[in-house]
């Protein structure tokens, strides 16, 4: 997560450290797709799936709502109501697909950009805003919905996911839980961190019910994925002893099918999978970032043509799975949601400056109690005095 300096100098394009991914390159033939970017239904031998009308509509609805949540986040930041926002624009299908694949008892370890998975996991979007507004560092209980707190230090949460999965295995062995799976989220850039690779080691050495879900959105701030790895990221898995697969992350059907399959394997005790969801960060890294400094508009155009919502809508319309009334309804729902988020954001309470002393430890120390009391007296002094 990064606060970029406000920068108004315009500079000529500078040489990058590595050529940006050429969007014109033919996609990896091993890319799993169930929906072409023109909205044609494709088939894949390993991921046969039929989708009902209701499922397709549910995907569409969530894609639109998630995009709206994200737009509202960006708008609130622009208006000064949030200090920062990390847009997921372009990654809706990867997240909605993965979210729908999860069972209720599965656990998610997100990064800071997982607004879409959070929404599908039923975390109130207003709560997501708290940390970006600066009123808290994490506003929900991970145990409530099976959705961990946002994690900013790249890769750290991936080890937590593996540890959690080790706990699931033990719970099952102790007869106190049914098998469930864990989804560990991270970006292309984070794959360079030691922690992510140690997580692969751990999960491979003692096969754990974890699915590594890497959203390769082609960039880590200004660093193109090719600067992290010259070989596709999903190749990484095999050397750690488990399979890797690359899926079109802008194809909600394919992402759903691939993640569902991997989660099921994990629950069956067949070990981890690395899924590289190949997608694109259409917006800036965060609202502080200015991507025009490091990438060109041609790339953006290429990916806009592969928009995850457009293609599903094309498919739904062409196959008659919904009529205009449905689309209007979804838009209206999005408007309502946006209004609720905005109102909720403004109503988020400011933290209590004395409350922070209470949450450092379960059992507060006397040292901290002294600091808390002293600061309370100090604040009272102001109230009394001026």
């Amino acid at each position: 997560m990064t606060q970029t300096a406000q920068d108004d100098q315009d500079q000529d394009a500078q040489p990058g450290t590595a050529p940006p991914i050429d969007p014109a390159l033919p996609p990896d033939p091993s890319l799993v797709q169930l929906l072409s970017h023109e909205g044609t239904r494709l088939h894949h031998p390993d991921y046969e799936a039929d989708f009902t009308r209701d499922e397709l509509r549910a995907f569409y609805r969530d894609l639109v709502l998630v995009r709206r949540i994200d737009a509202e986040g960006t708008a609130l930041q622009r208006q000064g109501e949030l200090g920062l926002w990390a847009p997921l624009l372009g990654q809706e299908a990867a997240q909605v697909g993965a979210g729908h694949a999860l069972a209720a008892t599965d656990m998610v370890f997100p990064t800071y950009r997982e607004h879409g998975i959070a929404f599908v996991k039923d975390v109130d979007p207003v709560l997501l805003l708290g940390m970006f507004r600066g009123v808290e560092h994490g506003g929900w209980d991970p145990a409530d919905k099976g959705f961990g707190l946002y994690a900013i230090v790249l890769g750290a949460q991936v080890l937590h996911a593996v540890g959690y999965a080790m706990g699931v295995v033990r719970d099952v062995a102790r007869g106190i839980a049914e098998p469930s799976a864990v989804l560990a989220c991270f970006g292309d850039g984070a794959t360079s961190q030691g922690d992510v690779n140690e997580a692969f080691v751990w999960a491979g050495a003692q096969p754990s019910p974890v699915v590594f879900f890497c959203q390769n959105n082609q960039w880590g701030i200004s660093t193109p994925t090719v600067s992290q790895s010259r070989t596709p990221l999903y190749h990484r898995a095999e050397g750690f002893g488990f399979p890797g697969v690359r899926v079109d992350g802008n194809d909600v059907l394919a992402t759903y099918a691939v993640v569902r399959d991997a989660l099921a394997k994990a629950r069956r005790g067949e070990g981890p999978t690395l899924i590289e969801a190949y997608t694109y960060r259409v917006g800036p890294h965060t609202t502080s970032d200015d991507p025009t400094r490091y990438r060109d508009s041609g790339e953006l155009q290429h990916w806009k043509e592969r928009d995850p919502i457009d293609r599903l809508r094309l498919f739904i319309e062409r196959d008659g799975h919904a009529d205009q009334a449905f689309f209007d309804e979804v838009d209206a729902e999005a408007d309502t949601l946006a209004a609720r988020i905005r109102a909720g954001c403004l109503a988020l309470p400011d933290p209590d400056p004395l409350g922070v002393f209470d949450d450092v430890f379960v059992e507060q120390t006397e040292d901290l109690k002294r600091q808390q009391d002293a600061y309370a007296r100090y604040l009272e002094g102001f109230e009394d005095g001026s």
Partner: protein, 333 residues
């Protein structure tokens, strides 16, 4: 954890490493969610045998020989804690804790605060620490300051078999993360302890006057407690030795009571002086007892150098003579 319970007493004399072993065994027997993670802690029983026999007794799921990565050990322990377990991690030697530093400082220490109290991190990190065993580089460090400075961690160190046995159980029972420093050169020191009902009456966060005196207070913890007790015995003055036991939080009640009485204080530790524990203790004592102090708090510590080769470690480590020399300097004020 007081001695008032009506349980049969079973007093034995055990080396500290074995006392820790018994403490771990008791904690694991009492609570199914306690599990151990570390390098070579299973079949081998740890390079110091602190976990000897525990894998045979409690199984592979509860005593886990991990892959060799400290960040992985702490990172997965955090995940296990989120799932309701109480992991006890062994770092094989002090100098190998740093690869896990990010997980400890940015995750373990902060998750409770990050979650506004919703997430608990009952994780213990056991670290055999300190010098004096003639080891090669990275095997004799005293990294406690790094953890004491980190908000969100609690840090303790044991100095006797009885304390080792009880304190490790108290640390495991704590719902907050505890970095548990074990003075490795004292692992073989034997002491009495009661396996059935403890005679240790202090909480985990309390200091203890281990030798009363009136002229000057020696503050120490871990390996230096024995050194200070020996120094007190050898001194012509009446020295009071306080075993801090808890480095964070500090038990200021006990510390202030002692120094208020003696008016003089020498802090002794193996870690370097620069931002070692002595710095914080000195600052607090002058804040609290400015008019009562008869001399500045003096510090007898390791030098501010990377731990030296074993053949000269006795120069680096505070010994009897250096402690007594500081006592003389203090009394000369």
């Amino acid at each position: 954890m007081t001695a008032t319970l009506e349980t049969p007493t079973e007093v034995r004399t055990l080396p500290m490493a074995k006392a820790l072993n018994e403490g771990l065994r008791a904690a694991m027997a009492a609570d199914d969610t306690v599990l151990l993670l570390g390098e070579d802690i299973g079949r081998l029983g740890g390079v110091f045998r602190v976990t000897d026999g525990l894998q045979a007794e409690f199984g592979l799921d509860r005593v886990v020989d991990t892959p060799l990565g400290e960040s992985g050990i702490i990172g997965t322990a955090i995940g296990l804690a989120m799932r309701g377990y109480r992991p006890v991690c062994e770092i094989q030697f002090d100098g190998f804790v740093y690869p896990a530093f990010d997980q400890i400082v940015s995750q373990l220490a902060k998750l409770h605060a990050r979650s506004q109290g919703r997430v608990r991190m009952p994780v213990v990190i056991r670290i055999p620490y300190g010098g004096g065993i003639g080891a090669v580089e990275h095997h004799s460090e005293s990294p406690e300051s790094y953890f004491v400075h980190t908000a969100g961690l609690k840090v303790v160190s044991c100095a006797s078999s009885a304390d080792a046995h009880v304190m490790i159980q108290q640390a495991i029972a704590s719902d907050d993360p505890v970095v548990f420093f074990e003075p490795k050169r004292r692992y073989w020191d034997k002491g009495p302890l009661n396996l059935a009902s403890s005679e240790v009456t202090e909480t985990l966060w309390q200091a203890r006057v281990v030798k009363p005196g009136t002229d000057l207070t020696l503050l120490a913890y871990g390996p230096m407690v024995r050194t200070c007790v020996e120094a007190a015995g050898a001194s012509e003055h009446s020295l009071e030795v306080v075993d801090l036991r808890s480095l964070s939080p500090l038990d200021m009640t006990t510390i202030l009571a002692s120094v208020r009485k003696t008016g003089r204080c020498v802090v002794v530790h193996e870690a370097g002086a620069n931002l070692g524990m002595g710095a914080e203790l000195s600052a607090r004592l002058s804040e609290e007892l400015f008019y009562e102090m008869e001399a500045p708090v003096l510090r007898v510590t390791g030098f501010d150098i990377p731990y030296p080769p074993a053949r000269i470690e006795e120069h680096h480590l505070p010994g009897l003579d250096r402690v007594l020399e500081a006592v003389d300097r203090s009394l000369a004020f």
